[in-house]
Symmetry: C2
Subunit: 157 residues, 2 copies
């Protein structure tokens, strides 16, 4: 049953500093040491606008008692396999360290699965760094099955 | 060095039956037994149009001597991590069984990596079914690193 204390909504431009600060709390993806507002590069706002203006992308935040405790991104990809329905992809799942274990992450993922179902997607998928073994158990408890191996090449700018 | 005999281009509407027929040759994703043109559901064309009309999605085909020998999809996802640049995702990689080992798959993937680089992406990624161990070695030879575990939930229509 979804936790009624967790409210998932689309992010607004004013949420960008908080979302970036959340990303920076994550050891595996952290690129910056300073999460102060002054350090928010214009590039983050440009990317936020790209998401906001694209009907196939949504940046979501989860609020608990009016404070943002987590975030994730949902992307709908048109896909000819297996049957022409969109595929939903979850990216950039982050929960504030102080809120972990409180059900915020579960509430976000249940929300995402239900949203993908309502959207008419054939499947919802995500990848999780091989080092995040706790996260893997978390996704399995939510009904996700390990089906794929994720590969990547980092590109220099 | 890219194989000059392999020509990668955007798919056209006329290519849809051939692409769907290619998908159906794949044991892991095959859903249909009949690859005749009459069996091409209108839904595939609707999905093709969704891809064609979306600036963040491209359906590509690889031609050898004027015949389509492979296909894949490229999706650009706006991503606030790590630095606001798009992430490129490769999906639905398929090579005609008779063309495997001839360099078509390598040419397609090298084309995709170069295209993502020119587009300004921070990374290019894909997932491959855990059962496709040959494909995993293929991606590793191309410079892809295994970094993630892929999870999914299938949704009923």
């Amino acid at each position: 049953m979804p936790d009624p204390a967790v409210h998932v909504r689309d992010a607004t431009r004013d949420d960008v500093p908080r979302i970036v600060a959340l990303y920076r709390t994550d050891e595996l993806t952290r690129k910056h040491g300073d999460d102060s507002r002054a350090d928010i590069e214009p590039g983050y706002y440009a990317t936020f606008e790209a998401i906001e203006n694209d009907s196939r992308n949504r940046l979501l935040v989860a609020e608990v008692a009016g404070e943002i405790a987590g975030s994730f991104q949902l992307t709908y990809v048109p896909d000819m396999q297996p049957d022409g329905r969109d595929v939903a992809i979850i990216e950039n799942v982050i929960v504030d360290a102080s809120a972990r274990g409180s059900g915020v992450g579960s509430a976000m993922m249940r929300w995402a699965v239900e949203e993908a179902r309502v959207h008419g997607c054939s499947q919802i998928k995500l990848t999780s760094n091989t080092k995040r073994t706790d996260a893997h158990r978390f996704y399995e408890r939510l009904g996700f099955e390990t089906t794929h191996v994720g590969f990547k090449i980092l590109l220099t700018s």
